[in-house]
């Protein structure tokens, strides 16, 4: 009897919880060449999702009343690139999402030339239409494969001061963009002291492999780990002075960061130069790049 009563209580609790778990309003959906894209509105919060219903894969979210505010830790963590160079002149961003990062960069660095590369034309269209993404006169948007863009740039030697890689999502990694050869191409279009920031993975077998792959090309880097993992490094590897540099630059950009709900109290303690991965993990190359398979395996 008690079991039956318990069952009914359980069902009742589910029913009463249903209104709380109601789906946010769907404003837009489309099937692009690469994925499904959904735009939802939940009160003040607007999100771009690649899967619907939530909570799987929120790509980008913003508050309509506070459009500058970063809602995700990882976007805040990616801007820590400015801690290694507070005033880059040429910036490359690969992966657009809702345009949060490129928008923040063009607001904070009005004189910088920003190149933005996005594979999926629909993502760019949705970002402009629903996320108020307005590239200014100093920003160029390229709709093409990030690897192909970088490869075509190599002979032009564009000398980027900062490169931000944000092309991966929870479901799929473009495997040709997580190899030693790709990172070498990225390095070759940067200034010798250029800053690399990459949004990567934290909790699968891939962690060790991507760590050794980035190390193979960029040497030592800062490892910012929360739910996401941000690699923050330099073309020539970070130096012992970089922690002091980061503190200095953090003071310069602090007001802008605080405006976006971030700040040095949150970010500076995350700058960790230590190796917490297996340094003997195999380096990923164009010949060996099973990133998605590795990302599906648990970390040993």
């Amino acid at each position: 009897m008690r079991a039956i009563a318990g069952f009914f209580a359980f069902v009742l609790s589910l029913l009463t919880a249903l209104p709380l778990a109601a789906q946010p309003k769907l404003l837009h959906q489309e099937r692009s060449l690469y994925r499904n894209i959904f735009v939802t509105q939940d009160g003040d919060e607007r999100c771009m999702l690649f899967r619907y219903p939530r909570p799987f894969g929120r790509e980008s979210c913003k508050l309509l009343t506070q459009p500058q505010k970063f809602l995700f830790d990882y976007t805040q963590m990616m801007l820590s690139g400015l801690y290694l160079n507070a005033s880059p002149k040429r910036v490359l961003v690969i992966g657009e999402g809702g345009g949060t990062i490129p928008t923040a960069l063009q607001e904070m660095l009005p004189d910088a030339q920003i190149d933005l590369v996005e594979l999926d034309k629909s993502v760019d269209t949705v970002a402009r239409q629903y996320f108020d993404f307005k590239p200014g006169s100093k920003m160029r948007v390229f709709v093409e494969d990030g690897r192909v863009f970088v490869k075509r740039m190599v002979p032009q030697k564009p000398n980027y001061d900062m490169v931000l890689l944000d092309a991966f999502d929870a479901d799929y990694i473009p495997e040709h963009m997580l190899t030693r050869e790709f990172l070498q191409e990225v390095k070759s279009i940067m200034t010798p002291n250029g800053v690399i920031v990459a949004n990567t993975f934290s909790d699968s077998a891939l962690y060790d492999y991507e760590s050794t792959t980035y190390t193979a090309v960029f040497g030592k880097f800062f490892n910012l780990r929360l739910a996401n993992r941000i690699i923050l490094g330099r073309a020539g590897g970070i130096t012992p002075d970089d922690l002091a540099n980061a503190k200095k630059n953090a003071a310069i950009v602090e007001a802008e960061f605080v405006k976006r709900g971030s700040g040095s109290n949150f970010l500076l303690p995350l700058l960790n130069p230590n190796v917490d991965w297996n340094p003997t993990a195999r380096v990923l190359t164009d010949q060996y790049s099973p990133s998605n398979l590795l990302n599906a395996l648990p970390r040993r």
Binding site: L119, E144, D145, R147, E175, H176, F182, D286, Q287
Partner: protein, 200 residues
């Protein structure tokens, strides 16, 4: 003796089915760094493999009219394997060449695939009709024989696809898998030739 030649024909067709899908999957992998891995890149890959196989079916059928033998079938298998060798040896240089030649990723990937994979696929396509000619002994059983051969060869393809995609790329480098595939083809072709040489 008829049974022995049929057995060799089935084995070669099954392995060739495995091999052609192994090459097809790896070819997508190989060209991704230069042209991406979008639907049009896979479209180029699949187009070239289908085109190659269709030409191969045609040529294999024609070739089977001239003194068909297991020895020659082995020759076709070895030719299909050896014509993949340039991809392993000069793959990067050829990809860079096509990358610099053609900017549009659709036609870039298409041209690259045609250059690297059309010829081996034509040879691979020749195997099935040629093997059917060796196996079929009379009109009544021809449909049954052809059905059985397609069963073996397409089963080989499906196993080759899954094994490559799920496991081989997790364990080995692309060129290692290519070289292993080529070696198995050459060894199988060589053994077939040795064991069937006396009767030809």
């Amino acid at each position: 003796m008829a049974k022995k030649s049929a057995l060799w024909s089935y084995t070669i067709a099954g392995w060739s089915g495995f091999y052609v899908m192994l090459v097809e999957l790896l070819s997508g992998r190989l060209i991704a760094p230069s042209f991406g891995s979008s639907i049009y890149v896979w479209g180029s890959v699949i187009f070239v493999f289908m085109l190659g196989l269709s030409i191969g079916y045609l040529l294999g059928g024609i070739y089977s009219k001239y003194n068909p033998s297991v020895l020659k079938l082995c020759g076709i298998l070895v030719a299909s394997a050896l014509t993949t060798l340039p991809t392993v040896l000069f793959g990067t240089q050829l990809l860079d060449f096509f990358f610099n030649l053609i900017t549009d990723p659709r036609f870039g990937s298409l041209t690259t695939c045609l250059g690297l994979f059309l010829i081996p696929t034509v040879f691979a396509g020749m195997i099935s009709p040629y093997a059917i000619r060796i196996i079929v002994k009379n009109k009544e059983s021809s449909g049954h024989d052809a059905g059985y051969l397609y069963f073996i060869s397409t089963l080989g393809s499906s196993v080759g696809t899954l094994l490559t995609a799920f496991y081989l790329v997790l364990l080995f480098e692309i060129n290692t898998i290519f070289l292993a595939g080529i070696s198995i083809s050459v060894i199988l072709g060589g053994l077939g030739a040795i064991f069937n040489y006396d009767k030809e």
